[in-house]
Subunit: 345 residues, 2 copies
């Protein structure tokens, strides 16, 4: 191993010179450098776009998902889906602290933590897969992972079940960015509003847009729309397929007297939803693409193609304080909490 | 052909239901619907990321570039590079106006126009390639194209050579967005500052950041850095490879006392420059990815991976008034004008 870099470039096998996220292959030997943290991993939370792609590819079978995950990790030294480009995150127990950071990183051996950096850049070694939870994109494993010096983490809270915290922390960037983007009185569209990040964004949007605002959720599934309506955070739950761009636009136009959305948050886990987001957003509005299935060129050239002057944001998974912010949503809303605990605990 | 949609969905052959940019294949029969415009094409301006990819793939040979372009257009009905996902734009002469829009579109048969929508969504038929200009990413053809009802265009100006206008209009979104993003006194980094869009952004950034601001250009080539210095719009021209993320960060840190950039504009034509842009931008700063070689996941997960809370914008090629804005830069600066006329006229 070369001199340990705070960004982990010493773990890059190929291509040399890039950072770990951009690398094809990482060195996943579980011997840590003096500025690294070794983690005994308990559960992986696979990014929903990645999990959905793999699950579809292998035909919705837990054993086949496990085999595919093992082969990706064996080949790349990290759980970096080569089709979607995305990762996920993990929870586990601190097994060892590098000498250079032991006193300053704020952790003790034995602490239970969640990594807040993507699995697409986290050196990972899987000994054995114990269980694949198809319904919640999580995989229990025996194995180890390495966190770099600049890698963010959160200590797991004591008041929230660990697998619920894992699910929430995976998408913590989404409600934090929604809080920044939405102003009182605005019309906010959450595409994929029935999902994990979508539900948190709908809740956050309702708080920020306030009683004079309008929150619209989109899902292609009747049961998701029904649930959105029951919780009461949306003004409208529209049952539309996000990949049918013109249908999304028409449905949103119908409930906004043609004014469309001021802010659109895209939280789907499937490709080809860029144009629907663009057409349903008003001229001068903003679109936050949290979905990892977003295509950069489809968004950039799609907006240009219809002459739509909108600000489009790349869904940075990190925002200062995002982990605490997301967990606090569960603490302040019993309804949100019981929903997530029901699904993920 | 189905009922003509203002977005051109009636031209989509596969997959059905998507808009033309997202389509794999368009119907490029040059018989127009009542809401379309037929154009006799003179010159294609291939998007630089696309042209660079094709040119590298075929080994820098004009005839091989021509063959590749012909095969893509024959297969897809549009010049939509399947590797980069990007297009470019074109200039030509209005050949026919659909009956429904003839009176309202502001054009006459015979008008010379540039399309302001991407070639990645423009039905195109090439009769014959007349010349490939390797040095300026342009291809003279005999052929026809179709503009949809919502497709933007600009009449070609009389005071600027047509191929220069074509080059400028291709990247008109970049200086327009720079003008919106940069505030007086800010430190602005233009990565790929020696290129076409890069030069316009450097010029615009200088105007907006003003005398108390700091403009930094990055290019890996000595001659580009030399030229940037000669024009005098940059405070620093740094000779660094944009794909070497840590080198870019260190070089920018060195000339800003470690403060890094407030605003970064990425104008390169090659992949893998996301991390350099992220590391060289200060916490809380903004990054505008104009480059069509940008990977969405590399940007989103890369920023998260290093815990950098930056706002990252997808380079929408369109902004209201962008064509006039870009052409006016040439009108106000004789230095800029003679540079571009030297390269593209
Ligand atoms: N930017 C980041 O840092 C970051 C971090 C984590 C995750 N992500 C991404 O964020 C996205 C959402 O993640 P998540 O965990 O919230 O996923 P999730 O819980 O699976 O939610 C996705 C939602 O989209 C719905 N959906 C599926 N197809 C749809 C369609 N055609 N139209 C409308 N909605 C549709 C899904 O419905 P069903 O479940 O009923 O199919 C689901 O409700 C994913 O793309 C994920 O990769 C990004
Ligand atoms: N968002 C949109 O709507 C839109 C529209 C048009 C174009 N674009 C994209 O914008 C980008 C720039 O377009 P353009 O027409 O300005 O291209 P350009 O004139 O070719 O400029 C690209 C510049 O990047 C430089 N470069 C190449 N490798 C580099 C490296 N490793 N490090 C730093 N700089 C490097 C190039 O140098 P050399 O030329 O000396 O190699 C050139 O100066 C392209 O990716 C293009 O696809 C976007």
């Amino acid at each position: 191993m070369n001199t340990p870099s705070p960004y982990g470039t010493h773990r890059v096998i190929e291509p040399l010179g890039v950072l770990p996220q951009a690398a094809w292959k990482l060195d996943a030997r579980m011997v840590i450098a003096p500025n690294e943290i070794l983690i005994d991993v308990q559960t992986l939370n696979i990014d929903s776009a990645s999990f959905t792609q793999i699950n579809n590819e292998v035909g919705h079978d837990a054993a086949a998902v496990a085999a595919k995950v093992l082969s990706i990790v064996a080949e790349r030294g990290k759980m970096h889906n080569p089709v979607t480009g995305s990762g996920g995150m993990l929870i586990g127990r601190v097994a060892q602290l590098g000498a250079d950071i032991a006193d300053t990183c704020g952790l003790q051996v034995g602490d239970r933590i969640a990594t807040l950096v993507s699995l697409s850049l986290t050196p990972l070694h899987i000994e054995r897969i114990q269980a694949v939870h198809l319904e919640r994109d999580q995989i229990d494993i025996e194995g180890q992972a390495v966190l770099f010096q600049t890698g963010l983490f959160a200590k797991l809270p004591h008041d929230i079940p660990e697998t619920t915290a894992l699910a929430i922390l995976d998408v913590a960037g989404a409600p934090a960015q929604t809080a920044r983007l939405v102003q009182p009185g605005q019309t906010v569209l959450v595409i994929g509003g029935g999902g994990k990040s979508g539900t948190l964004c709908v809740y956050e949007a309702r708080k920020r847009a306030g009683p004079t605002g309008c929150v619209i959720g989109v899902s292609p599934f009747a049961k998701d729309c029904e649930r959105m309506r029951q919780f009461g955070w949306v003004d409208h739950a529209l049952q539309v397929d996000a990949t049918d761009a013109v249908a999304v636009m028409n449905a949103v136009a119908a409930v906004t007297d043609g004014r469309l959305a001021d802010v659109t948050i895209n939280c789907v886990n499937i490709p080809h939803s860029e144009m629907g987001s663009i057409l349903a957003t008003r001229e001068g509005g903003k679109i936050y693409f949290f979905s990892m299935a977003t295509s950069f060129t489809a968004a950039a050239l799609g907006a240009e193609g219809v002459g739509k002057d909108v600000e489009m944001l790349v869904g940075n998974g990190y925002a200062r304080g995002h982990a605490e912010h997301a967990l606090n949503l569960l603490r302040e809303s019993p309804a949100l909490r019981s929903l997530f605990e029901g699904l993920y605990a």
